[in-house]
Point group: C2
Chain length 243, copies 2
């Protein structure tokens, strides 16, 4: 990796809801889950009940479509008092397969923004979730060639970023992360002394919305879309060079 003595030496990009749409499709799947459940019970909190099951199952299943589908099935059995029919369980399995096969839809301006950054900095992709599904999306995105490394991790916490910095041979203070999740992309990197550009997505899974930012606002910017990334990067780059 590049090692000039100051400034940003490596830029990391999150993938889901940063480079391509993802949460929308999960939200749609959840709506269809609620429609299936509504045949059995009249609930206005089926979504919350599902989230409870998903939250307690993260320790077993981790993130991703397959774990979501198993949690949906568990929640469906629980919520309906085990009255759900097998054919409707089969529909939940089909939801998972559709989600896993959904075409990758890049967000507007993504390729141009990544190319603009990659022209001046090595870039890596750091994404969380199911190895098999994430690899398929990276392949299908057509962006794989732009990234020096593709890292698929099970959790985006300070320990994971610290391990990656060691593998990359880079100090945290020379690393900038771009992503939609304050919890997974921004907070842990700031905490380690790195830099962040937050690009909020219009919908966020409850789990990712739960974030505590360290007192390091000078080392981050928020932008409305990746089209603003080169400018934000330049501003933080100037700050990093003086750091």
């Amino acid at each position: 990796m590049q090692t000039s003595s100051r400034g940003i030496a490596l830029v990391g990009f999150d993938a889901d809801d940063t480079l391509w749409r993802s949460q929308d499709f999960f939200d749609e799947a959840q709506q269809r889950f609620e429609q299936i459940i509504a045949q059995y019970v009249d609930l206005d909190d089926a979504g919350n009940r599902l989230y409870e099951v998903e939250s307690r199952n993260i320790a077993f299943f981790g993130y991703g479509v397959k774990g979501m589908a198993l949690s949906m099935i568990e929640a469906a059995v629980e919520i309906t008092g085990a009255s759900i029919r097998a054919a409707d369980i089969g529909r939940i399995v089909s939801l998972a397969k559709e989600l896993l096969q959904h075409p990758v839809e890049l967000l507007p301006g993504v390729r141009a923004a990544v190319e603009a950054v990659a022209a001046h900095h090595p870039v890596v992709l750091i994404t969380k979730g199911d190895l098999f599904h994430q690899e398929a999306k990276v392949r299908e995105s057509g962006l794989a060639d732009l990234f020096r490394r593709i890292e698929i991790v099970s959790e985006k916490d300070p320990a994971t970023y610290a391990r990656l910095f060691e593998e990359f041979g880079i100090e945290a203070a020379r690393f900038l992360m771009v992503g939609n999740s304050l919890r997974s992309d921004i907070a842990p990197v700031l905490q380690l002394g790195g830099w962040g550009v937050h690009v909020p997505y219009h919908t966020t899974w409850a789990h990712e919305a739960d974030a505590q930012l360290p007192d390091a606002q000078a080392r981050m910017r928020s932008i409305a879309s990746l089209a603003e990334l080169p400018q934000a990067l330049q501003a933080l780059e100037a700050a990093a060079s003086q750091a």
Copy 2:
């Protein structure tokens, strides 16, 4: 990584059924699946029916417990003509959770064998399957510290090994892989010009049993247990040094 000019410079270990028991627990889960199904239909080929569903679903789910559980649920709905009760579907989800939480049971002599190899060669762990579950097993095994790198991959084919050799900065001819699967651990490494030590396990998933070995028997050895590994490695090392 180490780069003396000849001989084996890096040794890779498979994990499931090479370092610790795995297929036994999958076999047990499958027996319990068949017992659940037997309440509904009188079949002597429920196992084959499940394998058919698993095989066609690998393209969607990849390997691992969560994909297996979703395939079991799909197969259960199919085999029972959608007559299976929700409570029994719930039992299949529980099977998956039990499998994911099963304590890691190292195979006999594993720690001593890996330590003996690691005393003379850098060693890496290369395992296939679910990122989240494999990471948990590596942590729990107590062996993580022995390995220079832990690589969890979605498929063990020549393309994957070629990418890893590039990341490791090593030629195939300097790499030796130790594992129980001819298909995943031995054949692709031999095909690329590397070396292999096959340690058969007493039970093999049908998918892994399906292997075609290249004509490279001089570059592999079969041993009955990892206790014989140092000797097999020495024999291949001698051959590699003359290659």
